[in-house]
Amino acid sequence: MIAEHLPALQVVVPLAAAPLIVLLRQPGVAWALAVAASVFAFGASLVLAAEVARVGVISYAMGNWPPPWGIEYRVDALSAFMLVLVSAIGALVAPYALRSVAAELPREQHYLFYAVFCLCLAGLLGMTITGDAFNVFVFMEIASLSMYVLIALGRDRRALLASYQYLLLGTIGATFYVIGVGLLYLVTGTLNIADMAERLAQVGGTRPVLAALAFITVGLSLKLALFPLHLWLPNAYAYAPSAATALLAATATKVSVYVLLRFYFTVFGAGLVVRTLPVPEILIGLSIAAIVTASLVALWQADFKRLLAYSSVAQVGYITLGIGLASADGLTAAVVHLFNHGITKGALFMLVGGIALRAGGVNFARLQGLGRAMPVTCLGVTLAGLSLIGVPGTAGFISKWYLVLGALEAGHWWLAGLVVLTSLIAVAYVWRFVEAAYLSAPAPGAARIAEAPLPMLAVSWVLVAACIWFGFDTSFTVEGARRAAALMLGGAP
């Protein structure tokens, strides 16, 4: 009975938790509710993923209105995979937030944080699970509005400006997306994604369809921070509260990538996007620009959190590069890197949050000699950093493997070379941390710094361990990604 409605509960539970938290207000209760809701969401996503592996596709008619008239929730190989990623990060960030939020936010704002956190999670999960193009927009706005609030809660006053920047650009992105959906609705008369795909296949690449494709591409590119539309990201990540950064960095851009994949390969179809239009060429070009420039900019940051934010722009470039290759290996690389980069950056931003809490900031001057004062944290950052580089034995390596393989099989030797060479820039920026932490004399007063609080450390290390685990046991990630890639390419007309 309950299991039958699991697709709805996946979103409804965190969504309902938010107003409940606002009503109850008490910080401890708010936190407990947020943890309960996010852990439930994680459990639900695992059950759904197992179910999808068994039956293929789950279709759930919201309110019993059958699609295409009602809103359909649709879980397939790709969305099941994304649901697991998003809800897993949510279920880890929620327990992490207790000490971090207590340290960074005034007490009267705690319940707000948890309420908005639940809303954001519900929005991201909704974007992933829904099978309705307009419903995607609704959830996108829920997620985005709550993200603006999460960022603005940062204690640095620059957080307000960062939030405002993101508000402007994010709104433009969402508007572009909805214009694109509107055009598609004009052409096809439906908003259901599966239905839309069927009808578009008969229409072909007419001018309104191409316009819709352009609007949706640009709108989503803003949301997923594709170069050169990434300008909102570094400040937003740098000034948001640590727990919020961990959630956003690990999930927000990833879900937008998911929606882009959904439109490219399910709605428009690989035939139109890949073979008729120069979308792959544009994506590859922009991805290279993102990887090279953002990696180089990251190298020169004075603040470690900003460095990681720029690194995220570069890593999104690797994901879109995989999409641009548009082959089985390329798409596998993209989907696997969505996951691997999600856990890697989640781990890094969580650990950095711990450092910020204890050392009062993560400027490189404050990181000097920190390896002695916070050995467990620094080891975690180093290991997750290795995953960011893509050292074998870490999750990041698996992504690099498929990306290079995809490039080689497409005959792009130079692209394979570029991928490995830019990994070396990552070595340089990760090693800035390692040298500061281990080879520098501690700053005066650093001796009094203790390890981060145990709950934060424990949750962060779950993700660090995941970075190593998924570097060896790839049965979940690679199999999931390969199934998703096959689904996307198989759906091509």
Binding site: L386, I389, G390, V391, P392, G393, I398, K400, W401, V404, L405, L408, E409, A416, G417, V420, L421, S423, L424, V427, W431, E435, Y438, L439, F472, D473, T474, S475, V478, E479, R482
Partner: protein
């Protein structure tokens, strides 16, 4: 124990030892006992595999499937057996030496030092026993990363610079060249398993040549010029690190991978049938000569030893690149022969530093009279480097030369002859200075007993390998193409 369990033990023992060392960090005597115990246990595990391999068996261990179709797995073939034996055997000797050196010089961070050492040995075992290129690559990178804290041990500016070059060159070559080569091999052959006769049969000569170049320069640990800069840079490390890692484990992991790739990925027969590898003996020969010339001009003893290592490593590359059966045997033997000889030389350099605080060749006048055991062992190492009896280096050089003559490869013959003279030119004067010139400065004796014991043991091994080369020779002969 079954052989699969022994393989697992070879990896788990040093890793668990590292954990034990970390736990025992507050009690130095207990900590050093853990190191010695772990080293002895590891050697026992490796020796346990030897009878099976000598009898022609191929013990295997499959751990898990890392990527679809590519396992994290281990398979013990003769070459890996030899490398594992050399590394684990010398770890015991080196541990005894380390204890003397680290305590004698009052070094800091000793727990970290021993932990990283044990982890480095775990990585080395992983490389030696790997069943495919991916497994080898995983442990190859791990070895680079766990030795970085050892290279930068002193934590000063010089160490930081040395560490940057070390990491930059080793990660740069492995990620930039070796990884694409591995992935390209997978794309072409559809397998990464080490297979006698090679797996790249279908590829064209041009593709093979390109791949070979990616492999040879991508395996930066083999220090083929111009990828050799990391080795002298790594000399900022404490001497025990230079001795075991940068004369044995790390550099031998490099040439081991080179031999492994040529024998089991390309196949010597398949390579000989094309022109893809014609350039390799020339590059290796150039490295042999050029590094010797640099060594000749270096006054710093460790730097001279480092360049001598660069030169000796390229002997192995040169020998295997000739692709003749006898020279492949020579290359394999040289992995063992150079290891015992060079570790002796580094041990002596560290002993001189500990007892007399001297680092330059020009300061060594008459030191043989004050440190007769140390310099006696040094002389044995020198004999091995030049390739004179009764030292191990003679045996391997004999086979290399025989292989070069067999293949009528006159360039290689010339290189070997010329470099023998160069080796003599930069090593014999040190021995001459030490014994035949009058001592200067204030008097001192030998280094601490633990160090002297260790360097006598390795010098003894250098001589023993000349008189009893049977096991390494049997392993080398069992190699396909050997």
């Amino acid at each position: 124990m079954t052989s699969a369990q022994l393989i697992a033990a070879c990896l788990v023992v040093p890793a668990a030892g590292a954990a034990g060392i970390a736990l025992a960090g507050s009690w130095p005597n207990l900590r050093e006992s853990v190191t010695l115990g772990t080293a002895a246990l590891l050697l026992a595990c490796v020796l346990g595999l030897l009878p099976t391999v000598l009898a022609g068996g191929v013990p295997q261990l499959f751990v898990l499937e890392m990527l679809p179709g590519i396992a994290l797995g281990f398979r013990v073939e003769p070459l890996g057996m030899l490398f594992a034996l050399v590394a684990s055997g010398l770890w015991i000797v080196n541990s005894v030496y380390s204890i003397g050196y680290m305590r004698g010089n009052d070094e800091g961070h000793q727990t970290r030092f021993y932990v990283c050492f044990a982890l480095a040995l775990a990585a080395t075992m992983g490389i030696a026993l790997s069943a495919n290129l991916l497994t080898l690559f995983v442990f190859y990178e791990m070895l680079t990363l766990v030795t970085w804290p050892l290279v930068t041990h002193h934590g000063d500016n010089e160490a930081r610079k040395g560490g940057r070059v070390y990491l930059g060159v080793l990660l740069g070559t492995s990620i930039g060249l070796l990884l694409p080569a591995v992935i390209a091999t997978w794309a072409i052959a559809g397998t990464l398993e080490f297979t006698p006769g090679g797996v790249l049969g279908s590829a064209s000569s041009a593709t093979l040549g390109l791949l070979l170049a990616l492999y040879m320069f991508g395996i930066g640990k083999a220090a083929l010029m111009p990828m050799h800069r990391w080795l002298p840079a790594a000399m900022v490390a404490p001497t025990p690190v230079s001795a075991l890692l940068h004369a044995v484990a790390v550099v031998k992991a490099g040439v081991f991978a080179v031999v492994k790739v040529i024998v089991y990925v390309f196949g010597t027969g398949a390579l000989a049938a094309t022109t893809a590898s014609d350039w390799l003996p020339t590059v290796a020969g150039f490295t042999v000569i050029a590094a010797s010339v640099v060594a000749l001009r270096s006054d710093n003893l460790k730097r001279r030893l480092a360049y001598s290592t660069v030169s000796q490593l390229s002997y192995v590359v040169l020998a295997v690149a000739i692709l003749a059966p006898l020279s492949v045997i020579g290359a394999t033997l040289h992995i063992a022969a150079h290891a015992v000889g060079k570790i002796t030389l580094f041990f002596a350099a560290g002993a001189i530093y500990t007892a007399a605080h001297k680092t330059e060749v020009s300061q060594l006048d008459g030191i043989g009279r004050r440190m007769p055991w140390t310099m006696g062992a040094f002389a044995v190492g020198v004999l091995s480097m030049i390739g004179l009896p009764p030292a191990a280096g003679f045996v391997s050089k004999w086979y290399m030369l025989a292989g070069a003559l067999q293949a009528e490869h006159w360039v290689a013959v010339g290189v070997i002859a010329a470099s023998t003279l160069l080796n003599a030119a930069y090593f014999v004067p040190i021995v001459y200075r030490a014994f035949f010139r009058a001592p200067q400065g204030k008097a001192h004796g030998e280094a601490p007993p633990a160090m002297v014991l260790a360097l006598l043991a390795s010098a003894g091994a250098t001589l023993a390998l000349f008189f009893f080369p049977h096991v390494p020779l049997a392993l080398a002969r069992a190699l396909p193409g050997g």
